[in-house]
């Protein structure tokens, strides 16, 4: 009997030990006798050439530092956001992660202790002189030095040149009135003027963001997104929602609410819709979908404020990392002139590193158009899902979708949103 009890005790102790070992094994990164493994979470790469260039950069780093391995995990836009929100601040957080820098996403991470202040590494590697002013502003906006610049993008209206010609539109619109007139002409020609995928809320959001900037001007727009002005009492908000409702009911593809961004963009590529608001990364997407980039043009949304609609993104180091020095070494390598030149040549996109000059070999006519837009713009207004706190973003999406589908009257939308903001505070 005693022997049996001892045996069962041994079994249970083994089971408990196994359980404990399993729990201990749950975690990311770490070091072994063979070296250090850094986990790095980023958005899934949509461009094959850029992906190959990135892999080479990682391989070069690992070759130079045989004791450090970089374990890269890539996710889709929404998957990446959710993974970060779930993991940051826990032992499951990656050592390094890429994120949009605006207050609504990157700001939430920084303010909640999800980012390591890199001041000492900025001094050690003299990073401050490496990056452009817009990117550095995104690093220092929350105090200290949070993250290291990764990219900055603009967003504008891409249009199908053939469909514009069919509708008799000779030149891209330069004022909001001209844009509406162009949408009218397209509709009259039986062409869906603009496409967005509604199942991902941030796609259609871009239309409302730009109409708000147009109707309210930059000062009021900034005051609204900082909650320094009331969405319920600014008349330009009502005007914006009214304009937005007109766009969604008269010019937008009828099945917007059933499609995601990728499905809706297929309508642009296949000539079934004439316009969409997309970012400076979009030329790669066009190529990836076997469409001819020269068949499309791009112009900034004619808000009249001359600001660029876009965002900045950074790579952040998690405060839970056990290897901040190694993470800084990798980020130094990733943003070096050599690495950034390789990435720029592969992608055609502008680099955050001021010493990188593209030779233009891989740049399409759309990339050249973006150069002009970047040069001529003054200031930046960010996507509102990056401006607003998370809960407000969710409500902003609900309201704009309800206005688009006719469930909320445009003149009630602003006051409903303000009521939500007031409840939150």
């Amino acid at each position: 009997m005693r022997r049996t009890t001892s045996k069962t005790l041994a079994i249970s102790v083994s089971a408990a030990a196994l359980l404990a070992a399993t729990l201990t094994a749950c975690g990311s990164g770490g070091s072994t006798d063979e070296g250090v493994t850094l986990t790095y979470w980023r958005l899934a790469e949509t461009n094959e050439a850029t992906g190959a260039a990135f892999e080479q950069i990682v391989a070069d780093f690992e070759a130079d530092h045989p004791d450090i391995q970089i374990q890269v995990e890539e996710r889709s836009t929404d998957g990446h956001k959710e993974a970060l929100r779930t993991a940051l601040g826990t032992s499951g957080a990656p050592d390094i992660y890429w994120s949009w820098a605006g207050p609504g996403i990157g700001g939430e991470f920084v303010n909640n202790g999800g980012s390591l202040d890199l001041t000492e590494y900025y001094e050690e590697y003299d990073w401050e002189s490496r990056f452009n002013d817009v990117s550095m502003a995104s690093i220092t906006q929350y105090g200290g030095y949070h993250g290291i610049p990764s990219g900055f993008s603009g967003a504008g209206i891409y249009y199908n040149k053939d469909l514009f010609a069919q509708a008799g539109i000779a030149e891209p619109p330069t004022t909001y009135e001209e844009l509406v007139a162009a949408a009218d002409k397209l509709s009259a020609a039986g062409i869906d003027a603009i496409e967005f995928g509604g199942t991902v809320n941030w796609h259609l959001m871009r239309l409302l963001d730009n109409i708000l900037e147009t109707q309210c001007g930059s000062e009021v727009f900034d005051a609204l997104v900082r909650n320094e002005a009331s969405w319920g009492s600014e008349t330009c908000v009502d005007d914006s929602f009214a304009e937005f409702a007109t766009w969604t009911q008269e010019y937008l593809i009828p099945d917007w609410a059933s499609l995601d961004d990728a499905q809706a963009n297929q309508l642009l590529f296949s000539g079934q819709a004439a316009m969409v608001i997309e970012g400076s990364w979009f030329p790669q997407v066009i190529q990836n979908n076997d469409a001819d980039p020269d068949a499309f043009g791009v112009f900034p949304f004619p808000t009249g404020t001359n600001r660029l609609y876009g965002d900045t993104s950074n790579n952040y180091v998690s405060p839970t990392t056990e290897h901040p020095d190694e993470a800084a070494m990798f980020l130094d390598h990733l943003t070096s002139t050599e690495s950034q030149t390789a990435l720029t040549e592969a992608s055609g996109a502008r680099s955050v590193n001021v010493d990188v000059v593209s030779d233009g070999a891989s740049r399409s006519s759309l990339d050249a158009a973006w150069d002009e837009i970047f040069d001529e713009s003054e200031g930046l207004y960010a996507f509102n899902d990056q401006n607003l706190p998370l809960a407000q973003t969710t409500e902003y999406w609900r309201i704009l979708n309800a206005v688009a589908s006719g469930d909320i009257a445009p003149d009630e939308a602003g006051s409903q949103f303000q009521a939500f903001i007031d409840q939150q505070s």
């Binding site: 079994i11 249970s12 309800a402 589908s405």
Partner: protein
């Protein structure tokens, strides 16, 4: 008849025997008990505790006690909660009616000796073994308003009233469109449970009823159905619990949209916590969900147990 003294004498060894058995069983129960406490009980209690706090979900962030404020906000100010609750109630009600009746009908039909019976059983059961997110993808494509099977069928058959329907984009029908996918997935699993239950119906009872002149419907109502009661309890409880916490199918097909009109309690709890970083509010929704489940399942099981005993 034994005296009180002898009864006490019997009780003591019995107590000792029980204690000895417990000591012997404890090492076997221990790991499972630890796992249950760590992975089930603790998260449940922690979830209820967090519903009285305001917390962003970050480990270093402060948890502020707010009493009942999360519940007050949920019931009086949250713009989505009542929609989510209403949708959850509709979903549960439909789940207890449609897939259960269909699966019972299929089970009864396929309990007979039919040619190709095994094939039909397999065909109906296969959707039940697919990952729900895969089911969501399949049905998203079926419902695609431009390239989907639903649109192609409507056009091929010349059914104009079925053409151009925004199955997942129209707030009035999106929930029911998702439910269609749920029925497709759920019917097979319940059918297998009912088929297992039907094997326990004594054939001699059916034969006796037939000899007494009972028709097919009377035999089903008075013999088969009462014999299926234990299976029915299992199916009802599993369906209720499974349907009130529906999550992945909605995530995969609409994400709660359009404009939160297909939102349900489990998904809203998740989104408040993980998308909005409002863990207090998210856990308040989870607690409401827990109370709803307990309030329905426990009395139902007690009632059935009493009926069984009587």
């Amino acid at each position: 008849m034994s005296s009180p003294t002898s009864a006490t004498a019997v009780m003591v060894p019995r107590r000792r025997r029980r204690a000895r058995r417990l000591r012997a069983a404890l090492p076997f129960l221990g790991p499972a008990l630890v796992a249950y406490v760590v992975f089930v009980l603790y998260p449940m209690v922690e979830s209820i505790r967090l519903s009285f706090f305001e917390w962003s979900g970050f480990v270093g962030a402060e948890q502020t006690f707010v009493g009942m404020r999360n519940y007050v906000r949920l019931f009086t100010q949250d713009t989505v909660f009542w929609t989510a609750l209403g949708n959850s109630v509709i979903w549960v009600a439909l789940s207890l009616a449609v897939p259960m009746l269909l699966s019972l009908a299929f089970a009864v039909a396929l309990d007979r000796k039919l040619p190709g019976r095994a094939l039909f059983r397999t065909v109906f059961y296969v959707p039940g073994v697919l990952a729900t997110i895969a089911v969501a993808n399949i049905w998203r494509w079926i419902y695609n308003p431009r390239y989907g099977v639903s649109e192609s069928l409507a056009q091929t058959l010349g059914l104009e009233w079925l053409q151009g329907i925004q199955w997942l984009g129209d707030a009035d029908i999106a929930l029911y469109a998702i439910f269609g996918a749920f029925v497709w997935q759920a019917v097979g699993t319940n059918m297998v449970l009912f088929l297992a239950g039907l094997q326990s119906v004594p054939p001699e009872l059916k034969e006796a009823a037939a000899l007494d002149g009972a028709g097919a419907w009377q035999r089903f109502r008075n013999v088969t159905l009462p014999s299926l009661r234990p299976t029915m309890v299992v199916v009802v409880v599993l369906t209720f619990i499974g349907s009130i916490k529906v999550f992945d199918l909605i995530v995969g097909m609409t994400g709660g949209g359009p404009a939160q009109q297909t939102q349900v309690l489990a998904l809203w709890s998740y989104q408040l916590s993980f998308a909005n970083n409002q863990y207090g509010m998210g856990n308040a929704v989870a607690t409401v969900l827990l109370i709803l489940v307990i309030a329905v399942v426990v009395p139902y099981m007690l009632w059935t147990a009493r009926r069984e005993q009587s």
